[in-house]
């Protein structure tokens, strides 16, 4: 759908919904996913879909509705639904207003070409042919999307964004191992297939016939994939004003305190060149750079308009589609990079583990951010500064806070990891006393 039609729909909603305040958000676009397994394309899908979200404010009552059917009749029904909900609502005394129109660009276009079905299949063919050549099995996906987001409200907000993102992921499996690599780019032509092949094949080759070692505390070097997965729980449990108000965040009561070493800085920055950019949030508020932790000191959290206005602040541009029980969310999370090369980091480990990837991580305790999960697709013993042997996979049970306190080194390179519409820019991290609690059979 073109921009004009999208804005026409939003204008219609804002003009025709009789209420104190109105917000219309339209998001969607085209998404294609070419999935492969056993060295062939087994799932190849495409969709064109949109969702129109409407928020209606009557005094301190808020009603919301959505529709994926964009016919006039369906849009009118969605408007009626939101108004009816607002009328039947209770007052929310903490609600102040929908967002004001904050200064900033109104249009953000971060797009390139969307590849056709044959081009997508050709890229996948390179991966599966290479795996087949070595007698290995490739599985993965090539996903490409053109995402459009437009927000208009009755307080003057009108913003439009278009973004393309493509992700190529490859898992190479042998009889006794697997190796993983993934890359996401705004322009699919910049995806380095050779580098993905090299990393996934090399890890799978090296990881064959793993030995079993005992669980316990190990010094680890985590790859960016592992860092992203390990920190994923923190992003929805700790970093927004709702988490603070409800008392579930480790940051509560510690603002201004130095909890971590100097080299730990965590922030969100939607407009950095080192992320897949996003100009504004799902309320149309421009993205601000927010430091959660700067040089080890606890600094700030994210605000959507509800929590910002409730606390007399400005929203930071991190709202998810409303209503949303998660609160504000870091869509462009950064772990600040360090100064070491990966080789240097490994060379500093006397006896430890290199972790390519974690899997199925979940929090056990929210405030200490105690997390458990498994290693996956490459786990290696490091001895005397060198990777020496592949190791059977293990379960870790570790607190994110302890891991930051025990972080010895951060790499000078980072990788953009795109999962479920959000981006983490993650480096390698060397961490001492990382706890592994059990082993598995492979």
């Amino acid at each position: 759908m073109n921009k004009e039609r999208i804005l026409q729909i939003l204008n219609y909603v804002v003009k025709n919904a009789e209420a104190d305040q109105v917000e219309a958000v339209l998001m969607g676009g085209e998404t294609y996913l070419t999935g492969f397994a056993n060295n062939y394309i087994h799932r190849n899908v495409g969709e064109e879909s949109y969702e129109l979200n409407i928020r209606i404010v009557l005094g301190k009552k808020v009603g919301a509705s959505s529709t994926s059917d964009l016919s006039d009749e369906a849009i009118n029904e969605a408007i009626r639904n939101a108004i009816n909900i607002a009328k039947l609502q209770k007052d929310n005394p903490d609600f102040v207003s929908l967002p004001q129109n904050y200064p900033g660009d109104n249009e953000f276009i971060f797009v390139s070409q969307v590849p056709d079905a044959e081009t997508r299949a050709s890229m996948v063919k390179k991966l599966v042919d290479a795996s087949r050549k070595y007698g290995f099995i490739s599985s993965g996906k090539f996903e490409t999307e053109k995402f459009q987001l437009a927000v208009k409200n009755s307080l003057g907000v009108e913003r439009y964004m278009e973004r393309t993102v493509s992700t190529l992921k490859n898992i190479v499996m042998t009889d006794t191992s697997s190796g993983f690599s993934q890359e996401s780019k705004q322009d699919f032509r910049e995806i380095n297939i050779e580098s993905i092949l090299e990393e996934s094949l090399e890890v799978a080759r090296m990881a064959q016939n793993p030995i079993e070692i005992s669980p316990g505390k190990y010094e680890v070097v985590l790859s960016p994939y592992a860092v992203e997965e390990f920190l994923s729980s923190m992003k929805y449990l700790s970093l927004n004003a709702k988490n603070i108000e409800e008392g579930t965040s480790f940051m509560k009561g510690h603002f201004g305190e130095k909890l971590f070493p100097d080299h730990i800085s965590l922030y969100d920055d939607g407009l950095s060149n080192e992320t897949l950019k996003m100009g504004f949030d799902f309320e149309g508020v421009p993205k601000k750079k927010v430091y959660f932790v700067k040089e080890g000191v606890i600094l700030d959290v994210l605000y959507d308009s509800f929590y910002a206005y409730k606390e007399g602040k400005d929203p930071t541009g991190h709202s998810l589609p409303q209503p949303n029980s998660l609160g504000a969310y870091p869509m462009n999370f950064f772990v600040h990079g360090g100064t070491s090369s990966v080789e240097e980091m490994i060379s500093h480990v006397e006896r430890g583990l290199y972790v390519q990837r974690f899997w199925y991580t979940n929090p056990m305790e929210p405030t200490s951010l105690l997390i458990t999960g498994m290693t996956r697709d490459g786990l290696f013993l490091i001895e005397n500064g060198k990777i020496t042997k592949p190791v059977k996979h293990m379960r870790f049970t570790e607190s994110i806070l302890n891991a930051f306190k025990n972080c010895l080194e951060i790499s000078n390179i980072s990788k953009i990891i795109y999962e479920d519409g959000a981006v983490t820019t993650a480096p390698y991290m060397r961490i001492k006393d990382f706890k592994f609690t059990s082993v598995t059979e492979f």
């Binding site: 190849n44 064109e48 059917d69 996906k141 409800e246 056990m364």
Partner: protein
Amino acid sequence: MQEVIERALFTAKKLGATYADVRLIEREAEDITVSNGKVEGVKKRLTKGFGVRVIVNGAWGFFSSYNVSPEEGEYVAFNAVQIAKASAMTKIEDARLAQVEIYQDKVLQPVKIDPFSIPLNKKIDFMLSLDKLMEKPGIIVRSSSMHFSKEWKTFASLEGAFIEQERIVSGAGLQAIATDGKEIQIRSYPASFGGNYARKGYEFIEEMKLEENAERIRDEALLLLKAKPAPSGIMDLIIGPYQMALQLHESVGHPTELDRVLGEEASFAGTSFLTPEKLGNFQFGSKYVNIVADATVPDALGGFAYDDEGVKAKKIYLVKEGLFVGYLNSRETAFKLGLEPMGAMRADGWNRQPIIRMTSINLEPGNMTLEELIAGVNEGLLIDVNRSWSIDQKRLNFQFGTEIGYEIKNGKIQDMVKNPTYSGITYEFWRSLDGVGNESYYKILGVPNCGKGEPMQVMEVSHGSSYARFRNVRVGVKHE
């Protein structure tokens, strides 16, 4: 609607499809969340669209659109065919489907009380009254949620299938989070992560007895703050039906999905230790373990009349008297192993291609009372309601935590304990089961959020179980 389907199927066939199906779905949903005395959000969602799945040149293609019109029917089918042709560039062998009976049917779901007929303000008032019941010093978050949906789905295929199905779902749950400033404890009712869901009308909410349990979970959350930590070590474990739901889901449901087994989900969800040579030959559990996949259980969230390939709902055994005997399958994976399609292909909406999903995966009841199960334990724990979960990508090494536990000593229940966890290797764990509660304890938990697949699909499944007793389980995890 009829014309959209006909034009899509006609176009697909004309362009070379040897198989094609169309799913057209309209869905209406209402979500209400209340937190700390305020309505956090009320939203009504409408969705409508259709998807076309084809086999062309022996390979799959799928395309979908929000725009339901006859012209779009042709466009969507054309795109699905183009995508299938591209898929064929890497083909190793032709995609083939096991034969099934072809149905034309219309299945309505009768409910006692249409959930959308209950006024919104009545639902909100009820939830606010529940919220009030959970208010007490030390409780930092009180939350409750309700969900209702009504779906109308039409499935048609080039083989002549034409099936219309109605689906109505209701669900609700409560949660209280307590803190003493140092730690957090959580109690939920009837289960965590949104409560319980069923294919029923508003009568399901009335049957849940939410008012009668709000104060109990509030007080249990506060008591947990003062409870002693759960022990660590090797001991016996009695697991309640709501935690058993998660145990069945992660260690039986997922590893018996035949697409995983055959490597089709390897890049995301992983594979499975239940490889084909084990079918009929592998001692999955003890002789007390009888686990079925049953899409025919009335009202269960994982049930339906026909799956999204038009296969009629069935009950099959996955594990019988401990032996691994069945897979969840699709027409394609059934053909590959020479099995009979059992109807587990489902998509979470019109814009997704069906993949193999759990139906209602249930541990059949045994013949013991809870008292008898407890009496047989010298040293152990009784635990229930999931709090944390993790399992490796072959579904072997698992570690789960529950909201609440009670010590058992010398056959008697003792003190409440907090933060209980247990872990194991799947088949070793199921082999240690030596007693299952009788039908009077049997509960079915509807789970609305099973995630699988790329692109991600969220599916409604369910799990039935009584209390179950496991011997010599590793309890607790040393992480300090």
